[in-house]
C-alpha cells in the first residue's frame, strides 16, 4: 500500500492442520485481519513464508493468486458480500463461472449447495429480500461450491443476532466435520469457544 511499509505482523509462527476448526481472536488493530488476508491470498507480505499444502504462497501474479483462491479457499465475510443484482442461486454459482463451468451445470450444483444450507426455496430471491442469517447462509453456500479445503470466515456472526449466529456456527461445524479446515476470525468469546483451537493475536504477535 503506497511506498510506506507498515509493520503489522511482527512474527507469526503458525501451523494449522488439515481439518482443524480454528478461531483467531484479537482486538481491532491487532493484525488479525491482515493475517486472515494473507492466509486467504488476498494480501501480500514482505518477509517470511506461507505454505498451503507445501506450496509456497509468495510473490504470486494476480492471476495465479485468483486461481489458487478459487481452488483452495472459500470466503465468508461479516457483511456477506453478496452481489445485489444477482439472486441467491446466481450468487452461489458465481465461483464456478470463473472456473468455466457451464451455466446449466453450475446452477444445478448451486441448487444442491443452497439445499444444504436450507435455502433451496429461496434460490430465486435477491439478497435484499433475505434476512441477515439467510444471506450469510447463501454466502457459506457460495464459499463451499468450489469444494475448497479451507473456509475463511471473517467475523461471520458479526452482523447477526445470537440465534442466527448459532445457526451459522452450527453450519460451520458441520462443514468442519466433513473434513474441511475452518478458520474463523472473531472477537466474540462464545463463538471462539466453540472452535477446537483459539489463536490470540495481539500487536502483531501470536500469544
Amino acid at each position: 500500500m503506497g511506498q510506506h511499509s507498515l509493520k503489522v505482523l511482527k512474527g507469526i509462527n503458525l501451523k494449522i492442520d488439515d481439518g482443524e476448526f480454528v478461531s483467531i481472536m484479537g482486538s481491532s488493530g491487532s493484525g488479525k485481519s491482515t493475517l486472515l488476508n494473507i492466509i486467504g491470498i488476498l494480501d501480500t507480505y514482505d518477509k517470511g513464508s506461507y505454505y498451503i499444502d507445501d506450496e509456497l504462497i509468495k510473490d504470486l501474479s494476480e492471476s495465479r493468486a485468483a486461481t489458487l483462491r478459487g481452488q483452495y479457499i472459500g470466503f465468508v465475510f461479516q457483511s456477506f458480500n453478496l452481489i445485489s443484482f444477482k439472486n441467491a442461486l446466481e450468487n452461489v454459482a458465481m465461483p464456478l463461472y470463473y472456473q468455466n463451468v457451464r451455466r446449466r451445470e453450475r446452477n444445478a450444483i448451486a441448487l444442491d449447495y443452497l439445499d444444504k444450507v436450507g435455502l433451496k426455496d429461496w434460490a430465486n430471491h435477491h439478497p435484499s429480500e433475505m434476512s441477515g442469517g439467510q444471506k450469510q447462509r447463501v454466502a457459506i453456500a457460495r464459499a463451499l461450491i468450489n469444494n475448497p479445503k479451507l473456509i475463511l470466515a471473517d467475523e461471520p456472526t458479526g452482523a447477526l443476532d445470537s440465534v442466527t449466529s448459532q445457526e451459522v456456527m452450527n453450519l460451520l461445524k458441520d462443514i468442519n466435520k466433513e473434513g474441511r479446515t475452518v478458520i474463523i476470525v472473531t472477537h466474540e468469546h462464545d463463538i471462539a469457544g466453540q472452535t477446537s483451537r483459539v489463536i490470540n493475536v495481539k500487536d502483531g504477535l501470536v500469544i
Binding site: 486461481t67 446466481e90 463461472y97
Partner: protein
Amino acid sequence: MERLTEIWLGIRSNKLRTFLTGFSVAWGIFMLVLLLGVGTGLQNGTRDQFKDDAINSIWVNPGQTSISYNGMQPGRKIQFHDQDFDILKAEIQGGEKFTARVDDWAGRSVTYGTKSAQYRLRGVHPEHQFVEKTIMLTGRFINEGDLLKRRKVCVIGQPVETELFGEKSSIGEWVSVGGVPFRVVGTFMDEGSEGENSTIYLPVNTMQLAYGYADKIDRVMFTIGDATLEESQAMVQQVKERMAQRHNFSLEDDRALYVRNNFEEYKRIADVLGMMNKFFWLIGILTIFAGIIGVSNIMLITVQERTREIGIRKAIGAKPLSIILMIVEEAVLITVFFGYFGLFFGVFLLELISKAIPEDGAVFTNPTVDFSTAINALIVLVVAGALSALIPAARASRIKPVEALAAD
C-alpha cells in the same frame, strides 16, 4: 452467451445512466451516417451530371485561330475533314473507340406518312454509340456495313418514334429526312437532355453525301479506355500537336482547337468530392469521439461504484483478465447497441430525404449509405467501444480485493 448474461445483469442495474451514455453514442453515429449519406448524395448527383457521355472520352472541336502564325492572319476558321479523323484514329496512342461527327443542330424536317417534325441530325461512326453512351431500345445502331455501302439508314430517338409512329414500331419503315428517304434500323435513348433523345443518327458518309457536306466533319471524339489522368493529358497534348502541325496554327493558340478531356473534368470534381467525403468522416469520427469520452466516463463511474463487486469477484477466483474483459465487453455492448439505433435512424432519415427531393435533383441525388459504409461505421463503433473501456478497465483490474472489500 455466458458473458453476455453477466454484462446484461450489470447494465440492467444502471438503466438510466446506461441510456444517457448510449444516447451520446447513438447521436455520434447518427451524425456520421447523415454526413456520409449527404456525401454519397453529392457524389451520385455529380455522377449523374456525367452520365450523358462516357466519362473517359476526349472531344476534339476545331475553332478559330487567334494568333498569327507562319504568316497566317488570326481569325482563320479551322475545318476538319475525314482525313483528320483518319489521322487521329491511326496515331493517338491509347485511344479506344473513335468517331467523327457531323452536326446539323438546326435539323431537317422528318416525315412519316402524314406526320412531320423537325429533328436535329448527327452523322457518326458506329463507335459513337460508346462515346455518347447511347442506349439501344430496339434494332441496332449504325454499323460498319452501313458506312461501307453508304446505306440510307437511320437510328431514331425514342421521342421521335413516339411522335411519328405512335404505338407502332418504326423498325424497317422508311422516313423522309429533308426529302431524302432513310430506313429506320433502330431506336435509342440517352440519359442526357431531352434534345439528345430528339435526335436522328445517320452514317457519317451518307449524311455528308446526302446534304452536301463533301468530306467535312465537325468534330472527332474518342474514348481512352482505362487510361490514367496523366495518360489522358498526354493524349490531349498529342492531339493538339498533331492538329497544330496539320492545320498550321500555333500551339499557344488556345482558340484554334478546343479539346475537352471529360476524364480530367470528372476527375477534378471527383477529387473535390473525395476530399469532402474524408472531411465528413473526420467530423463524424470527432462526434463519435465525444461519445467515447461519455462512455469512458460512465464506465469509470461504474467501476468506482462496483469496486466492491469487483473485489468480491476477485476474491472468489476472478482473474484480472476476466475483469478487464467484463468492462470492455460492457462498453462495446453499450456502444454497439446504441450505435445501431443511431445507424438505423440515420439511414431512416436519409431515406426520407431521398424521397423528398425530386428525381432530377441535379447536384444531390439518392443520398444513401451503402453496405461498406455501414460496415465501416460498425467497425468504428466496436473500436470506439473498446477504446472507451481502456482506462476504466485498467482501473478495474488494479482493484485489490482487500481494499475493495474494506470499502463500504
